[in-house]
């Protein structure tokens, strides 16, 4: 017999039984159980396997410090990998699978690895699997590594996020945190009290206390009632895991009913850290056997869930808290032996006591069966409760860059210099008795009204791991780091605490070494002749406990993270059977037919008759005001101020580095009003750029910038029948070429609705862009669609437009240009020579780099090997040297629509002067040959613009 549930007592609700499964076995428990307490009560001891040696492991802790036992938890459709069983409430119907076991914790088939333990010390994998290639070994090693499994078919639920401001955030609702919250709230402060346990109370839930003359439980009930009256917000199951810039405390709240965690972002005026302390294990051989548990955890299971952790219990301690645990276990009916390292321990009635003794080794294979003391005494037991002292939970203080100070009498790192806005109290400040903690509260908080507790004392004697001890002494349970590993690190000169951590992985597991770090650095100190404070601690970084990504992400996922922009005409496109796809953040029609074959058919139709294209995402940023022309002269590579009202000009906007940032048509509606038509994917960037230069360079000038993109829909009508289609659609405008030539803009009407017609062409054919208030676009679309169909045309998707523009040699910035491309590389050298005014990027175009003759320049490519489409991304080769050298690459490649055969665009070294030359292309191991041509492969004279 080992652990068992007592018939009476605890906070569990015995009238509400529940069942869940663990590795397929049914476990029974009650509401009020954690997964851990129900598993413990079931008598099962082996609940997991260690990370590296696959040793059987049982529970060590009862809270966030638990290093051993995690499980993958399935609840209906929800799946949570690698949950710490000590912090999760037991619920009916949960399905648990022990983490990192195969097939389960009891019968793990990799357990044989432990037999080879002495051959696989720290660094073994790095040192051994180097030859011939780590990658040969990696898959099998990786399969055994890691904790838990992720089921890609199941996603976590979406968590809530709460932003909150308050005067004071008290972290830890133990007696000291409760007292502090009451004092602060009593002084009129708004207070949030967060605690990672299932209910407030901390140690009062399982340790005896007398506060203000009352039993601890009564004081707790009274205080909670007072806090409720004072309006204190109490957050149970809530871990403050990180302190971030500008006083932001991030807390993760788990919920009893299993719904997704809530992330709290709290900005308090003041942080009060009352997070208590975590008990350390004792270092002796085989100290990782199941049945060996933190003494305070054992006490917590006994008092909170009425689980007596053993029938025959040894309590081993190096401090004065062991006696209380021993007494409690004996009162609950266990046979108890106390082994206290302190020689002056007072004897306890009914309890065998070995004063001044410590444990040399534990006995047993799959569970502890006995201990051997340092004097050779052998004691049989089925449970060993250990206390190696307490490590204050000062993570948030340390994250705030607080400096820790070593306290030799308490054997703990305590907060040193004060950190503004942060007060550390109670166990976290090393005040391990209530009397001492309460007494310091008034000074710490600057407030009256602290409770009092009966005086008691805390005493501890060192029990650090000693160098050269025989046997296997675990320092870090979760990462299977033993004293021998630390000794190896010291021998190989990884003596700095940060090196020790990374070489042995001590403290790097999901428990972040909460129970192990101090023993590890104490041993390193002993090995290198340094005191503990000289060794120091590793850097404290958030999160204090693992936080699910679903909690951090909250609602910010998928389309909520990056919303798709929708067209006003989306309904029309869908009704026409369009395949929709995302282009530059917009959901646009790819093509209208059944499959990809429609793309080329649409392009050919537009060349033959008329195509209708939804160009609404095209940028329409209006620049208005008497100084607008001056401003745009500075913005554009080209001269803008000479443009006549009603005229359009194609141009580039450069970055200050001289690289082409965007291209497009600038429209001058009237003397003081321009429209910047930037690329659809650059609207936000160009808008910000315009605004930035306006404020920086033209702050007191009369310029107004308005982004009208979203409010305006644009339909492009292109092809030989474009004009006929517009006429047939009943649009009132003077379409005579003399009155409305290419590269001009004119007003028009569709019925009562005013619209703007602009003659620019991205296809090389006669084209009109019709811009209209976006909510009125469907009517215009219907009229144009009917007219186009009557003429043998119809709508075309964006991929057809890509063909039409590519065979004309019209570029898409970012596709046919890269982060090196200057305007001269695209064949536009004129403005640099002739424009006298200053403009963005001008100085950079005069640099030697920009003027180099061997730059990559835009060209067309035609297959010269009889093959089909040239692959995009294929590199041109210079084969004249010893090794082939890249001379640029293919940027666009399409079947021609007007042109007979494939067309391609490329950026090729000195390309502009190499038309006619045949070059070799290399792509994914294969070779092609292509002839360099001018970028424009179709209608080079541009006759079709007016055709």
């Amino acid at each position: 017999m080992t652990a068992r549930r007592l018939p009476l007592g605890g906070e569990i609700e015995r009238a509400r039984p529940l069942r869940f499964t663990f590795d397929g076995k049914v476990i029974e428990g009650f509401v009020g159980d954690t997964l851990a307490s129900a598993l413990l009560a079931s008598g099962r001891q082996v609940l997991g396997r260690s990370f590296k040696y696959r040793r059987p492991r049982g529970l060590f802790g009862a809270g966030v410090e638990e290093p051993n036992i995690c499980a993958d938890v399935t609840e209906g459709a929800a799946f949570r990998p690698n949950q710490r069983v000590t912090t999760e409430p037991a619920r009916d119907g949960l399905v648990l699978r022990s983490a990192s076991t195969a097939p389960d914790a009891e019968r793990d088939r990799t357990g044989f690895i432990d037999l080879f333990a002495r051959f696989i010390p720290s660094g073994f994998y790095y040192k051994t699997f180097m030859f011939p290639d780590w990658h040969l070994f990696e898959p099998r090693i990786r399969a055994m590594a890691g904790l838990g499994r992720v089921d890609p078919a199941k996603t976590g639920p979406v968590g809530d996020q709460v932003n909150h401001f308050c005067d004071a955030l008290v972290i830890g609702a133990g007696p000291v945190g409760l007292a502090a919250a009451r004092m602060l709230a009593g002084a009129g402060k708004s207070v949030v009290l967060a605690d990672d346990g299932s209910r407030p109370g901390g140690s009062l839930l399982y340790r005896e206390a007398e506060i203000d003359g009352m039993p601890g439980a009564d004081w707790l009930a009274e205080t909670l009632a007072q806090l409720a009256g004072l309006g204190v917000t109490i957050l149970p199951r809530t871990t403050a895991f990180g302190l971030y810039d500008h006083g932001l405390v991030a807390l993760n709240q788990r919920h009893e009913d299993g719904r997704a965690d809530t992330l709290w972002r709290v900005r308090p005026e003041r942080i009060v850290l009352a997070a208590g302390a975590i008990e350390r294990p004792l270092p002796f051989s085989m100290n990782d056997l199941p049945g060996i548990m933190s003494a305070q955890a054992g006490l917590s299971y006994l008092r909170r869930q009425a689980v007596l952790p053993g029938a025959n219990i040894v309590v081993a301690a190096n401090n004065s808290t062991g006696a209380g645990v021993a007494r409690a276990m004996a009162e609950a009916g266990a046979r108890v032996t106390l082994v206290d390292r302190r020689p002056d321990t007072a004897p306890l009635s009914g309890i065998a006591c070995h004063a001044g003794r410590s444990i040399d080794r534990a006995l047993g294979r799959k569970a502890v069966q006995g201990v051997v003391l340092d004097d050779g005494t052998e004691i049989t037991c089925d449970c060993l409760l250990v206390s190696g002292g307490f490590t204050p939970t000062i993570h948030l203080y340390a994250q705030a860059k607080g400096r820790l100070a070593w306290d030799e009498t308490r054997l703990a790192f305590l907060p040193g210099d004060p950190v503004p806005g942060l007060t550390v109290i109670g166990g976290a400040a090393g005040q391990f008795t209530l009397g001492e903690a309460f007494a310091t509260l008034p000074a710490a908080l600057g407030l009256e009204g602290a409770p009092t507790a009966a005086p008691s004392s805390y005493a501890i004697t060192p029990a650090w791991p000693e160098p050269g001890r025989k046997g296997r002494i675990w320092i870090d349970y979760q990462h299977d780091v033993t004293a021998k590993d630390v000794e190896l690190a010291a021998r190989e000169n990884f003596t700095s605490v940060e090196h020790l951590k990374r070489y042995t992985t001590l403290g790097m597991a999901t428990d972040q070494g909460k129970t192990s770090n101090l023993n590890g650095l104490a041993l390193m100190g002993a090995l290198t002749g340094r005191e503990i404070p000289e060794v120091g601690t590793t850097t404290y970084r958030p999160p204090f406990t693992p936080v699910p990504y679903t909690s951090l992400a909250g609602l910010r996922g998928g389309e909520r993270m990056n919303p798709l922009r929708r067209l006003a005409l989306e309904g029309r496109h869908r009704a026409l059977g369009a395949a929709m796809g995302e282009y530059g953040g917009w959901l646009r029609p790819v093509h209208y037919g059944e499959d990809d074959a429609a793309i080329l058919a649409e392009a050919k139709m537009a060349r033959a008759t008329v195509g209708l294209f939804d160009a609404s995402p095209l940028g329409k940023i209006e620049v208005i005001g008497p100084d607008a022309a001056d401003f745009l002269d500075f913005i554009y590579y080209n001269t803008v101020s000479t443009l006549k009202p009603g005229g359009c000009r194609y141009g580039f906007i450069l970055a200050e580095s001289g690289v082409v940032y965007d291209d497009g048509v600038l429209v001058r509606l009237d003397e003081h009003r321009f429209v910047v038509s930037c690329s659809s994917s650059h609207v936000a960037g160009v808008h910000a750029m315009l605004e930035e230069w306006r404020q920086d360079r033209f702050p007191a000038r009369r310029i107004f910038i308005h982004n009208a993109t979203a409010g305006t829909a644009t339909i492009t009508v292109t092809g030989p029948e474009a004009r006929a289609a517009i006429r047939a659609a009943g649009i009132a405008a003077d379409l005579d070429d003399a009155a409305f030539p290419h590269m001009t803009t004119r007003p028009g009407r569709h019925g009562d609705t005013p619209l703007r017609l602009t003659r620019v062409s991205f296809t090389g054919d006669r084209s009109y862009e019709l811009s209209i208030r976006q909510d009125l676009a469907p009517g215009l679309w219907d009229a144009l669609d009917g007219a186009a169909r009557a003429l043998g045309g119809g709508p075309i998707g964006i991929e057809a437009v890509m063909i039409l523009r590519a065979e004309k040699g019209y570029i898409v910035i970012g596709k046919d240009s890269d982060g090196m491309t200057r305007p001269m590389d695209l064949g536009l050298a004129g403005p640099l020579r002739s424009k006298k005014a200053e403009f963005i990027g001008k100085r950079s175009l005069l640099q030697e780099e920009a003027q180099r003759p061997d730059r990559n320049q835009l060209v067309g490519l035609q297959p010269a090997d009889g093959g089909g489409l040239l692959p995009v991304g294929a590199h041109g080769l210079d084969l004249s040297g010893a090794a082939p050298r890249s001379i640029g690459y293919v940027t666009s490649s399409y079947p021609g629509a007007g042109h007979d055969g494939p067309v391609a665009l490329a950026l090729i070294e000195r390309g502009a002067s190499r038309h006619g030359e045949v070059i070799e292309l290399h792509h994914l191991g294969s070779r092609r040959r292509a002839r360099i041509t001018a970028p424009c492969a179709f209608d080079p004279k541009g006759d079709r613009l007016n055709g």
């Binding site: 500008h246 404020q695 100085r843």
Partner: protein, 88 residues
């Protein structure tokens, strides 16, 4: 998450702001007169101070640029100040 203070809108979360560069990184004027080194300094060389940094930021939601003094070690950020013409 940091909180910056826009001179026009008050304290707002950092994700509403866009970094605009070092304050006082003036554009050298006169493309035919600016030496290479001076232009390269303007384009590429940043102060990147340890400690007090004076910077330009844009508050994206109101669109205004302003100057802000910030400590890159403590992450303290003074309230932003409106930029006026003639100011560095």
């Amino acid at each position: 998450m940091q909180i910056f203070s826009c001179p026009f809108c008050g304290p707002r979360p950092e994700y509403e702001f866009h970094f605009g560069g070092d304050l006082g990184n003036h554009r050298p004027e006169g493309f035919d007169a600016v030496p290479d080194q001076k232009w390269a300094d303007y384009l590429y060389f940043r102060n990147n101070p340890k400690g007090m940094a004076r910077e330009v930021w844009m508050h994206l939601t109101c669109g205004e640029m302003f100057s802000m003094t910030r400590d890159t070690v403590t992450m303290e950020a003074a309230p932003g100040e409106a930029l006026a013409e003639g100011q560095p």
